[in-house]
Amino acid sequence: MTIRRVLALAALGLLALSACGEDDGGGRDALQGSRPGGSIRIGTVGPDEYDPVLYQTIPAAQALQPVYTGLLTFRHVEGAAGAHVVPGLAEKVPEPTDGGKSYEFRLRDGLKYSDGSPVRASDFENTIKRLLKLAGPYSSFLTGIVGAAEFQENGDFGADIPGIETNNRTGEIRITLTEPDTKLEFALAEPYTAPTPAAKSPPRSLNKEPPPGVGPYKIEVVDPNREFVLTRNRHFDVPGIPKGNLDKITGVVMDSIPRMTQDVIKGELDFMTEDPAGDLLPLVRQRYQDRFREDPNPPNTYYFFLNVTIPPFDSQLAREAVNYALDSRALVRVFGGRLQPSCNFLPPGVVGYEELDCKYGDPNGGADLEKARELVERSGYEGEEVTVWTSSGDPWEAIGDYYRDVLAQIGFEARMKALDQQLFFELTGLRRTKAQTGFTSWLQDFPHPGDFFEPLLGADALKAEPTLNNGFVNDPHIEEALDALRGEDPERAAGEWAELDDYVVNEKAYVAPYGNEKTSTFFSERMDFENCSGVHPVWKNDWILFCLKE
């Protein structure tokens, strides 16, 4: 961890303390200079899905987490403290028993969904069954539950998952794992495991009519591609979780990030889920310092996926060639200066991160194109046609074109395919698409190194369609390491996670990482930037914490 990053995290922590004090209780007192209530408009490229078990992107997580509270949740405070898991719908965070394989929860009394119906323990099992049945992008985090993998394979929604026992009378939920897995408590703090009423949550996509949840807000999807609205949930009263400051949050879905930026500048939007467009970034940095900040939150990793199952990247030499050929200095420019070059797969700020002794040269230095060309030649794939898949958004298309140019320089016949963001994620995650390589990135879901390795490089992730393991990596060594580390406290096993990082990058070149992005928070003048920026290590910005100036 660099000194700069330590200072940044410390500053964030201080800011969080000063802004929120001890108030992570049930309500939130109006902060000095801010006022409760009011409504805001948020510009966003849109949740990829409004169904809580099917979403994948950060804008979706931001919009859904105020609506769907899990058995556990992350603290709704700014800064590093927001990474701590606290009780959500459950009375407390349980200590695992049976050698780390069993977790027992009890629902709080009197919980109600936003439609007024009571929360039942069996609703939780229904949520997990939907997640598995619909093969949601995060389903791999739950396949460690006894019987979950079989349930997913059999496809019978009426079947029972033996590893989830519920008692609607007492509100008890017992989860039994096949192997200890410390990620479970983090996964149970995410919206995709949040209970929704079984009667209103059938095993199909509820994208247009998401089910009721338990959260400070309820959601109404006016048009999935245009607008959604969060309004206060009058049934919500969970100690320890703030009720939110704003009365209404309107999400305005738009593709154009420059327009989004201009709208925030003009005050027509109050916040944007995306980072200001590269073109406008210098202007925003310079003129709107009082309502703009850049943070290394949430920890993220940017890399090119390499499909190891088809040519040319079934050859390790070809994969190494890509790593040698990347010049992060070029990508820093594409990111408008917001990229911190790195050759680690794990990002700084995540347990297990240790700056790699990078085999492919200094990540802050130039590329070794000669070495890369030599490796491509040795791989036998010189002249091979390679299609670079990327999203058509800004700067993804520019990143894709840079990458295409690099591949062309080292001996491939490179082309580029730029797709709409939603299509891009869907298609590159399907095996039949045969996407050879392309842009991808990952922002931390929860503060656990397994959150990076398992969905992006784990064999279990391949069961989901589309999978996030775009490289279709299925390596016994990785599986063995993941099996061993699942039950370990990540802090105590940090060294092993670092070794796995080294294996993935230096030994096998399964991915071609190039850095970590600093994300930004940009508010309109109406918003209380000083007290309520809502910068959060898990959700990037926690909308529950947003507030307006007095």
Partner: protein, 351 residues
């Protein structure tokens, strides 16, 4: 944006026989013995404005055709080559092609990066010329395909009448019913994703053939319908009856008797069709469903440039100027051609 190629040629007899009209005009102008084509050429040469704009178009074509020479010998780069970390010496000072915060260099007015660079450090001037080649290539090829399809559709429908006419005309009506741009965008979005497969022929989604075919197809009714009207009139003429009496079959009559009489209409339509095709391609490129990135076209260059209008206004303005110049030149020249071939015709474009 709604474009409509509106030919208001009546489907009656008097507009059908353009060669007759030209001959009558020739008689009025006391130039007996001069053929209609030569007469039209003579009129066109006298129309200095049309010829001037025709020359502008030719110059633009030549400039765009010279793209490889400029790229190789002057700019020393290609249209797809990124120069993100490179530097260039301008007025004795070494400058980043793209600054650390992602702002590209503006026009240098020298060989390398004459018109500056884009955000990937690609030479704008080189991309502009290659983009022009792509735009012109698509415009001309699409117009050619439209012409071939429209002539066949018009000939078959007009000559065969009855069931054949009904099938062809209703099919054209279906296309006609959609606004050109919307139909093209819908087709472009669908085909750019999965490409096109017609029997054994497979066209990838990134191929330039996709926008060419889309543009060609959506414009067919706008040309085929007036041609059908002319054919309906021509097939009743005496010379067609005479050919039929001599035992000529339908195909021969269509090709040797009717088609030559459609030629002046086709010639008048063609430059206007090219202009419209270039414009539609630009619209598709702007929306990301025309020529696929990273291949340049004026449309997608404008689309990319708009995203960076504050820090690099040249990125959108320069291809915009080239597009306007080309379409304007083609339209004015096309009007001149129309006036030369048939001053009474009212074939025109509405944008």
């Amino acid at each position: 944006m709604e474009e409509r190629l509106d030919s208001v040629l009546p489907e009656g007899v008097e507009t059908a026989v353009r060669s007759d009209a030209l001959e009558e005009t020739a008689e009025r102008e006391h130039v007996a013995g001069v053929g209609p084509w030569r007469l039209a050429a003579r009129r066109l040469r006298r129309d200095r404005i049309a010829m001037g704009f025709g020359m502008v178009f030719l110059v633009l074509v030549v400039i765009c055709l010279a793209a490889p020479t400029w790229a190789t010998d002057v700019a020393h780069t290609g249209p797809l080559k990124n120069h993100l970390t490179d530097t260039v010496v301008v007025d004795g000072e070494r400058k980043d092609v793209v600054s650390l915060d992602g702002v590209p260099i503006g026009p240098t007015w020298q060989g390398e990066f004459f018109l500056g660079a884009d955000t990937n450090g690609r030479d704008t001037a080189v991309r502009l010329l290659y983009g022009g080649r792509n735009s012109l290539e698509i415009g001309v090829l699409a117009a050619l395909i439209t012409t071939v399809l429209a002539v066949w559709a018009g000939l078959l429908a007009g000559y065969a009448r009855g069931f054949t006419d009904a099938v062809i005309s209703r099919s054209l009506d279906v296309i006609w019913a959609y606004p050109v741009a919307l139909l093209a965008i819908a087709l472009g979005t669908a085909l750019s994703l999965q490409g096109l497969q017609i029997g054994p022929i497979e066209i990838s989604g990134e191929s330039k053939l996709i926008p060419i075919l889309i543009i060609a197809v959506v414009y067919v009714p706008y040309m085929a319908r007036p041609l059908r009207g002319q054919v309906l009139a021509l097939r009743e003429r005496d010379f067609v009856e005479a050919a039929r009496a001599q035992g000529a079959g339908p195909v021969r009559i269509m090709l040797t008797e009717i088609l030559p009489n459609l030629s002046s209409t086709i010639v008048v339509f063609f430059p206007l069709m090219v202009a419209n095709a270039i414009l539609l391609e630009a619209a598709l490129g702007f929306l990301g469903v025309g020529v696929r990135a990273p291949e340049p076209s004026w449309g997608n260059m404008i689309g990319d440039g708009v995203k960076h209008i504050l820090t690099g206004p040249h990125l959108a303005i320069v291809p915009g100027i080239m597009l306007v110049a080309t379409v304007l030149a083609l339209n004015v020249f096309g009007d001149g051609v129309r006036d030369a071939f048939d001053p009474r015709a009212r074939i025109h474009l509405e944008h």
